[in-house]
């Protein structure tokens, strides 16, 4: 059973190869291997697993890579509890193969990603081209991705739906001064097909009088079968008068479902000696609800489209995070040029403005629509070892 993870599947594969050539496109990516352990714990959901990347090139024209990523999920989220289901576990495995080709100041990249789980398969292909120009002060990149999802359910073996996705990206990275980098990026994404979660429900007022309080009944969500979104971002990175850097990001988003969002992030990077690098960051996210979202609809089938996915509601989330990196084998050993061990932790607080804790209707015996607004926090850990060769 999937409540949250399907959304992740839809986008991760396409995201993994988002804007290409940012920074120094006329250089092939470094030969390196990363072994990462990730953990997410919040809102009744625990997800952990590995991500392993191996990349090797000929140091002239080609660089190939392979990535394996897995999510091991245990969930008793509020959505699971409200639906009356019990805690579930499942696994997702994702495989990516890709190649980069460098010619003069142009980098061309292809990749393909496959994601598999018991009730959701996703495949996506990615192409990008980037070009350094103007004395290597400017890098322009263009990208296109196409993804196909197959959605099933564990409760109905006859259920099978599809969704298609296309991503169009453009980006510019610009050297502004000897201490300042800027990056602009734009991405338009179009979706078509079955776009909602087959397990999630909307709730509507049930005035049958079966309970002494105003109760609610549930019905499957109904989404439009198309969605187009647009996102624009600016990022700056500045080298301070001493050896440290600050970065800033501002991103705006809107889509044809009526969601508007803004994202702001500030960060500080500070090395200690030759081997240690510390990162501190703060991120703020705000969004408005989709036009067809409601926590509690007035009656069954009250609209053509109806959603109660809390990711489509009005809410904010804020993140405070820190990371530390230690470089070892700095002068090389055998075939290894250098290595690093890294630890990052992020604490995220989610506060919903129009998504209520529907568990309280029955547990506290209060009217539907008067429950407390839902909020939760999550801790995200990344621990990884990298070697360059």
């Amino acid at each position: 059973m999937v409540v949250v993870v399907t959304r992740a599947n839809r986008f991760l594969a396409l995201l993994f190869f988002a804007l290409s050539g940012v920074g120094h496109a006329a250089v092939l990516p470094e030969d390196r291997t990363d072994v990462l352990y990730h953990s997410y714990d919040g809102g009744g959901i625990q997800i952990n697993g590995p991500s392993i990347l191996v990349r090797k090139g000929d140091e002239k024209s080609f660089s190939v890579f392979a990535n394996y990523y897995a999510d091991n999920i245990t969930s008793a989220s509020i959505d699971v509890q409200v639906s009356g289901a019990s805690q579930y576990t499942e696994n997702r495995n994702e495989y990516t193969l890709g190649v980069d080709y460098l010619h003069d100041k142009t980098t061309i990249s292809f990749a393909h990603t496959t994601s598999l789980e018991n009730d959701f398969d996703a495949g996506s292909s990615h192409f990008s081209i980037s070009q350094d120009m103007f004395g290597d002060l400017t890098t322009i990149s263009l990208g296109y991705s196409q993804g196909d999802d197959i959605i099933r359910t564990s409760t109905d073996p006859t259920f099978e739906e599809n969704a298609d996705r296309k991503n169009y990206r453009v980006g510019i990275t610009q050297v502004l001064t000897k201490d300042l980098l800027a990056q602009f990026s734009h991405e338009t994404i179009t979706d078509e097909g079955f776009l909602n979660n087959p397990y999630r429900s909307v709730r509507y007022i049930d005035d049958s009088g079966a309970t002494p309080y105003l109760d609610a009944s549930f019905a499957p969500e109904i989404y439009p079968n198309t969605r187009t979104s647009s996102a624009n971002a600016i990022r700056m990175r500045y080298y301070l008068p001493y050896r440290a850097a600050i970065h800033f990001e501002y991103r705006v988003f809107n889509d044809t479902w009526g969601i508007d969002a803004t994202i702001m992030e500030l960060g500080y990077t500070h090395p200690f000696g030759d081997r240690w690098i510390m990162d501190l960051r703060y991120r703020l996210y705000e969004q408005t609800a989709a036009d067809f979202y409601s926590d509690l609809f007035p009656f069954a089938n009250s609209q053509n489209f109806m959603a109660r996915d809390k990711e489509l509601s009005t809410y904010t989330d804020s993140t405070i995070g820190a990371g530390i990196s230690y470089e070892f084998i700095k002068n090389g050993w055998n075939f290894i040029d250098k290595g690093s061990v890294n630890f990052n932790i992020d604490h995220i607080q989610f506060d919903y403005d129009d998504f209520r804790d529907a568990r309280e209707t029955d547990s506290l015996g209060i009217d539907a629509g008067t429950e407390s607004l839902y909020s939760f926090s999550a801790n995200v850990i990344r621990f990884f070892v990298s070697i360059w060769y």
């Binding site: 988002a18 990516p29 990730h38 602009f184 440290a244």
Partner: protein, 71 residues
Amino acid sequence: MRTFITLLSIFVLSGCAVEPWVKPYERQNLADPIMKFSRDGVSDSYMHHVYQAREGARGAEGGTGGGCGCN
């Protein structure tokens, strides 16, 4: 989108008109690893994944370099 294209056009055209104002020998700070927009692509991609699974917004999350999220 219109504003973005206008800015993009100005950006590109201005680049055509001027000499590179930061010489190669002045790029020592820019070449420092702490100035990378993404030092560790696999790690950054995972955080994008965490947010995308729980937020309505998507796209333009920023490149992780090299066209693969791995640079």
